[in-house]
Symmetry: none
Subunit: 196 residues, 4 copies
């Protein structure tokens, strides 16, 4: 029996568990997401989670890592491929919403985790804001954007994007693509240099 097979099984189990964990966290919130509930959804015993991830913190970290990697992998190429900061900012917003459409549970879980454990994952949240700031600086240097405080605007853009998942539970048939275009229009108006 090849060791790759062993690793494959291991990886599959880990993926299954992080998926289930993300699902439960997205559904009931991090506070109510007990290991028993996650294990029950995965159809395994609670000990399995400790076995694979050490403890609950390890599982949470794995959920974060998975989601963050998937999000970056999808979004970053779309953003850097744009020919202007204006298009870059639009791509940042719409690709975020697109990721949300394809992986709603992962994203909700990620936000839950960031919002809850303010101490541990604060850096991840700060990094996400910094990423937005980079695009804003880009546009200010090319003259596309006006002269605003990038921290305030970047924080607001992230907040506006991150507010969407909370609506998914309440609003039926939310068109995320259309929502993304509206958001992109909104912040295009808010950031472009005012001609006069």
């Amino acid at each position: 029996m090849p060791s790759e097979n062993e690793t494959f099984i291991e990886a599959a189990r880990r993926a299954q568990l992080t998926d289930c964990a993300a699902g439960v966290i997205a559904e009931v919130g991090l506070g109510k997401a007990s290991m028993a509930r996650i294990a029950e959804r995965a159809g395994v015993s609670v000990g399995v989670i400790s076995y694979h991830f050490g403890n609950k913190a390890g599982l949470i970290a794995a959920v974060m890592t998975d989601a963050a990697q998937a999000a970056v992998a999808m979004m970053e190429p779309l953003i850097v491929a744009q020919s202007s900061a204006t298009l870059g900012l639009r791509a940042l917003i719409t690709s975020n919403l697109e990721f949300m459409r394809l992986h709603p549970e992962r994203l909700r879980a990620m936000l839950e985790i960031i919002q809850h454990d303010n101490g541990l994952y604060a850096e991840q949240g700060a990094q996400a804001i910094t990423d937005v700031q980079k695009v804003l600086h880009w546009g200010q240097q090319t003259g596309e954007f006006g002269d605003f405080d990038t921290r305030v605007v970047a924080t607001s853009i992230r907040a506006a994007i991150d507010a969407v998942p909370a609506m998914l539970g309440h609003v039926e048939d939310l068109d995320l693509t259309a929502y993304g275009e509206q958001l992109a229009d909104l912040f295009e108006r808010a950031t472009r240099k005012e001609t006069r």
Copy 2:
């Protein structure tokens, strides 16, 4: 002993407890805010809380009600007194930040509660968005504002405002008044009718 005195003591006790609860929730988060911790800060026994509020949910509801009433009482007059929707939106944003400056604990507690119990206080969150939407409709009817989806913009405005308390823990010496002006400028650009 007159019954008014009773009521007065009763009200004072309730106010003391909701204040302490808000303080603890703002400090350690709703998840770690145990009844014992709240009672300890208030210098009373845990039973007192159950006595006055029935159970923890009752206390949380009281914290929400108090904070929301205080916020509305401060902000609403400032908003409706404005002579234009543009100024009204600015007043909404800056008065929000002003409330945050004067009552940081109450506001943080309120946001914690809304974010945690997704099912229970969703209506309060929806109401807060609707309140913003009213101002936006006002501006669209007067022709001050452009033709955008008010739900998207209102949600973004609330999200941008509500993102601020989380920064208070990390950023030192955050000038909330200046931050409010920046936010108001941002959404003024984003909402005004585009002249061409």
Copy 3:
């Protein structure tokens, strides 16, 4: 209702719990002495222990403190009242065995705790040896005792005394008073100055 009464109830409960804990530890060993088992013997819920002692470590510490205080209170006056180091050493040994006879569970529990958590209560064990060393120094200065390494002899005396509780479970009708005399004789021969 006077507060002393409250304190009295509290103290009585604490004493009951430390007694039960000492009993369980003496019976099944510290490793198997779960809080559930202790609570069961006390006829209370497990939460009561946490309520009174914070956590298991707090309970263990209380057991140690109680036993150590009782032991010192009984033994120290008997030792210092002696007119010579030879009689002092004998009093130290026999009063130890006497305490063992009157409080076998407390003593066994104390030894279990010292032997197990080598890190935490090592100082208590070291102190007990130092106490013996003091008597040995006393005798060396008066010329009653020979010129031996007091650390070796003190450690051996303590070990010989502390080995007794383990026998209580196996040997029936062990006469602790007679045992104490034998031990005292043994170490009197081992310590006295050799006259030739």
Copy 4:
């Protein structure tokens, strides 16, 4: 594949595992010595231990047997070779300390096991005391030793010896050979017939 080879491999595996188990037990105590920890130190899977020893109790028993056999093999010849009980007792003590110097982990593990499982290995402890008693009877019959209770003295000698390993963790550079001489002197004085 010859069966002797099987047996040889089998024996080597068992020896490796008992050594690792003794090492872990000596280091962290029997309570914290989990199968996983022992398997990790041996560089094998946990299942191997169950395979070879049935269960944890079987492994512990093997550790005991190995250590006890090694101790007897080293000490017994040295004791019985002596020409007098006085020298025999000295040899018993010093060879014990010598074994401790050469195999500190095995001895610590053995003591840990005896102290913990009061019921199971009590006989081993009793046997060790009986072995000392034999030497004491020898000396009483030859007239070298006085007329004391051999059980009390034998228990004390064993306790004095067994107290040494606990010091190894706390005292730096403990000279076990010198300690052994001091101990031997101590119990020579305590046991010899008093001339008058």
